[in-house]
Subunit: 342 residues, 3 copies
């Protein structure tokens, strides 16, 4: 078991008060004496007497004399952190290391690797996964149970594919990528044309590139390019159930929340934040540092740095104003009635 | 083959008219003489002469003298039911029992069960399913083909997992639970923080609890808690393609329709009804017995018993009024034009 | 390697200029001399001097004297096509034929086919797929890795099932159907009724019929009928992450874009176009040749040939007018202020 001072050392902070054995991290309300808690925001301090823990990690921005007095009076040990989220993440990693089931870091006998595929050192292949012809799997890659990897696929080192992921032929996946269960990478884009009253398929011969450090949630669908490629750039994070259509580009360090859909050939910039259930039409450009509110419908390009919301998505303050306008209609009707006698 | 009177006995109702051999249940329009039909609503009776069946089960609330005369005149046997949905469900179970393919109620030789996992009696394991270390599977559980169950998972008795379901480590699933194909339970929540311009991951060490009698549709994504847990309480039913984020609680006997998404740490009450494609932001509370209309965007907590709709979701009557206001603008413009001459 | 004139011959068009060896198809901007490019729309011609290719296929509607002069002056060989999309699709098929990995057109030894199932000639079964009892698989069908096919399923000839598809019992799938990864066909509809405060399940004994020439994207969820059937008619194309509820009928040659959801028992006509993230309530009828804009919420039936958008979906021009009305409120307020002095 670890102690509160060992945690302080792990996150490069100073602890105050007595050292305590620590059993784990808990939510503040309902925590036990020997569980450490993280105080991110002021709100929770309104109920500070309901926090059972005697070992607090506190965002240093929240510290003031009254709190300090309270901690001293109640014998609570504490750590002040200037970057509480980082401290939280590091403590989680320290207290809950990924379980290493040693005998499972191996290639399961039921994994099917084509004779022409190449796996680098220390690859972990779970039961019933398959790796197609001419694919190359980097070192330390983890391919879990029932994952299907097509032909001519490239996967960079340290990447993790959770169970039941499907990777179509010719996808390129970078290093340190995480793809959660059920996600499909490289299915054909939705491209058909009508001839003699029937839809015929446009072959999709393009590819997908998922760059380094990307994380993709569960049950997403990311289509390959028609020609060219669909690309998700370095460090971008996707939540669950997201649709990325053919030939879309998503920039670096962008966040996309669950159930958002991006139509074909649209280019999303770097450091963009897209909330949940957003729809973005095809063939437009979203600039860097744009923020898009939840459930927005984006039907035209957005300049760098803008915050938009609503349908059709427009400047967020304008969207709020639109709502306020509608609320004024009863008042207008009342004035009109008074003035016109109608 | 069964008869109409046997069905009456099965559903504890009295049949009137001659007994008939029954071949199955059919939709009223297009039904054959020996198919039984269920009359749920008045509408269908407008076309009663197009119902081929001579064996009707009728909601007793619909019976009146004219209908009775029609049934007698046309020699239609009938059953009156005070709970027609229950009668329908019970008759379906009676006429279409789950097919028991005896030799398939077994552990397929290709099922991989870790040496440290425990399966209770009468567990059915389909081909190519895998059960991880230290997991415990209750009696009469059905795990279909290509299901992947992680380590330290607990599954209660009689639960059914359809093909290609993924259960991550440390999930707890109750008794009589049904999870349809492609659904992912326990993937990491969407939790990142920015440091030096890059997103870093907050480890997700929490778990998921799916309580007894829950049913979850196809291709849903239900994330584990960061700390603590994500919990879906007893008797709640989820449709397909639903997103449940980390640390969400869904109460008892709640219905959530397809493609709805609930963001992190939100608490949904008991007996709530949420229609399709609804989005609910994080960190709010939805009271018991709330009803939320389709495609609503819920951005703040909702008190017990309310019915809300629209974006932002507000009292449903207010949402309707808002629409009516907008429709009045042309009239306002007309009056203004007349009165001001502009 | 092929040449530009061989492509012309393949698509039944006449080439002008010198013949060139062709290495592939590329997007116009960034193309190399020996890559052929397709000019679909006028826009790209504004940057025609940035097109590296010397082998253009041009929509004949775009040709005029200035362009002709430019092509001659710069020694660009060209093909005029009256049906540029068809020319594009055919050239893709010609230049990028489906890779035939001969030794993989076979039944993998790990494929599990029930003794009572029947596979016709030339069926390809990937690793770890399973085919249940009494199922019948037509000739030339491709079942990829980890696909699970239930009991009493029928699949027509030439159909392709991508990895991790789940087909429940008793589904009927036509000829030349394509189903992408993660899609679930035949899960139970969302049908429950409340009794004594708890939801009880209505058994779903109906089936699903997917007719010939249908394509379904990744991670869709298509539920079986309660009674009767859910049916997707000939030639219809579905994008990714689509929800089709129990007893829905989708007509012929209809397009449905990603993340759209259709609730129970609704009937969609032929030649309908539904954009992305649309929601359609249950028990309504959408006529033939209807077009529904992205993110619309359709709450009542729509007559043949209409174009609708918005929430609630109404005639598209009316939706636009509604937006224009709202924009007029500030002006109304201004007039009122001036005229009334308030």
């Amino acid at each position: 078991m670890t102690t509160f001072y060992k945690i302080a050392s792990e996150i490069n902070c100073k602890a105050t008060g007595i050292d305590l054995p620590i059993e784990g991290i808990a939510e503040p309300l309902g925590s036990g004496i020997n569980e450490t808690v993280f105080i991110f925001q002021k709100d929770i301090l309104k109920n500070k007497n309901k926090i059972g823990s005697k070992a607090w990690v506190i965002s240093s921005s929240l510290m003031e004399s009254e709190l300090q007095a309270y901690l001293a009076r109640t014998n609570i040990s504490y750590i002040l952190s200037k970057d509480i989220l980082d401290a939280f993440a590091k403590t989680l990693q320290f207290l809950y290391p990924e379980p290493v089931l040693e005998n499972r870091r191996s290639v399961h006998t039921s994994a099917i690797v084509d004779d022409t595929a190449v796996c680098s050192e220390n690859v972990q292949l779970g039961p019933y996964c398959t790796i197609g012809a001419y694919s190359r799997i980097g070192k330390n890659v983890t391919v879990m149970a029932n994952v299907t990897i097509g032909n001519y696929v490239v996967i960079g080192e340290n990447t993790i594919l959770y169970p039941n992921v499907s990777i179509y032929d010719r996808c390129v996946i970078g290093r340190n990528v995480v793809i959660h269960s059920g996600t499909v990478i490289g299915s054909d884009g939705f491209g058909f044309y009508k001839k003699d009253g029937r839809y015929l398929k446009i072959p999709h011969v393009g590819k997908i590139v998922i760059e380094d450090d990307v994380e993709i949630g569960s049950n997403c669908a990311i289509d390959r390019g028609t020609l060219g490629e669909t690309r998700i750039k370095q460090g971008t994070k996707l939540d669950n159930l997201i649709q990325i259509a053919h030939n879309v580009t998503v920039g670096e360090n962008t966040l996309i929340a669950a159930q958002t859909g991006i139509a074909g050939s649209t280019a999303i910039g770097d450091n963009v934040t897209i909330a949940g259930q957003v729809g973005i039409v095809g063939h437009i450009t979203i600039g860097n540092n744009v923020t898009i509110g939840a459930q927005s419908g984006v039907i035209s390009s957005i300049d760098e740095g803008k915050t938009v919301s609503g349908y059709p998505a427009r400047d967020h303050t304008e969207s709020l104003r639109k709502e306020a306008y509608i609320q004024k209609i009863p008042e207008i009707l009342k004035i009109l009635k008074e003035k016109t006698g109608e």
